[in-house]
Amino acid sequence: MNELDRRLTDAGTRFRAIPQALPSLPDLDRRRRRGWLIPVAMTGAAAVVAAVVIPLVALGGGDTARVRAPVTNPSSSHVPESANAESYAVAPPLLRAPTGPVSLRKPPCTPADVTAKAATATASDGVLGLITIHGAGCSVAVDPATITLLDAAGQPLDVAVGPGNPTNPVQAVRPDIAQGVGSVKVGFAWTGAYCGPAAASVRLAALPGEQSELTIPLTGPAPRCAPNAGSRLVPGLVGSDSPQVAVEPAPVAWSGLTASIEPIGTVHQDALTFTVVLANRTATAIALSDPCPRYEVSASAPVPVGTMSSGTGGSLCSERLVVPAHGSIRIPITASFTGATTDRWRPGGTVHLAWAIAGVPTAETDAIIAAD
């Protein structure tokens, strides 16, 4: 065996050893009965039907009985996680429309099917919350707008619910799939200062059908107490827990940032390299940690036939970045294509690049495609 063969064999062996979640099977019986085996081109119509039908089912009974879900992690063993962890990352805006098959929907979860946990982590402005819900072989229907913090007596805390940073808002990647397979996480931010009773649990609409609400014990810190200061609960997104996607809303402070891409002369399609500049327009340093952002990148350029748009995402969670007051930081990005070699950009054409994090306007630029 020569060196290359050894290298390939070793890479293959190690790749197969990486733990992967076993794919779930589509619910074929239900799809067949309901006529859901439809061409991909009709998925838009399917989504419209689901949007109409599901709320009717959820609201039909009018029963708001409180259900306490089993807790997978006892609160006594809970260790607060850093809000700079990937699990608490701020979701990016989407630069490309999510694609894929019609969502997979399993039978509706009942309270007995569900395990759930909720925890907070200290953030730069208050705390971030993360709710994880798993349905055993069933679908959930989580609505982040219904998140309510409760005290030990089950009474709602005096915390207003409001919007977060309105600029380039966070978006979820195929929440219908996460809900359909019953493995979701939901984010929220509890910003500002708070001096009232401790939050003991969180309540939200999470299940299809009549008993839609779950009340889940909440562990972790609350925002600091400061007199005459208010606090606000900002709902985040529903996302998948496996694989994990970002679900937290963007901090309001990030609206003081602008993003740009440094001018690029020409780009080579085998190694697309560019630098993002984040500038702080304010007199206060702005941290991109606690929480940290995930970002999206897209590139669109002519190919021999038509235009090809490509994209992916990454995170800035490995470093605790701070943009100084009236200053800026530079973030180098390098990308390479995993697409087929026939999908080559047309030399001499223009590639349009975009980079985005939530809470900050998208950075965009054009560059000329080099003749490699």
């Binding site: 390939l8 197969r16 076993l22 794919p23 099977l25 090809m308 992916t312 070699t341």
Partner: protein, 166 residues
Amino acid sequence: MATDRAVPRDADEFGAWVRPHLMAMKHLAVRLAPTGDHDDIVQEALLRAWLRRSTFDPDRGSVQTWLLAIVTDRARRIRRRAWSVLRLVDERNGSVAGAQPDPVDPALDIAVRQLPRRQRMVIELYYFLGLPVAECAAVLGIAEGTVKSTLSDARSRLRALLEVTE
């Protein structure tokens, strides 16, 4: 219990039929769509397999090779239909950012992706899925001899890309 020779009649039989091969399908989808579309690819492949299960011919290959051929086709169609994938390389620590774990050999990974399609596919199936030559041939619908010669061509190309001299 379903076997390779018994085409499943209902969803339960279909589940038993494909379940032993789900991880191989996932592995191939991850290799062909490393930044996140792999779950969609597997689900589309399973739906396709369910719809076309009557066309399965055990004389032409195993259930696994049939399913992997569908995954290959779905992966190609998804990429052509929508987006190719940009992979981010974090220059600060040399790792590749994305939803999947870092590749075990990033330079090799990038070189494999630069191969012509057929060469890449034989490398993916033979080395990364660990299939024997005969099963690679069945998945790709080509002769075993063609798999061997394509593997040889792919290795030559990889040596050039990786500047490996032997």
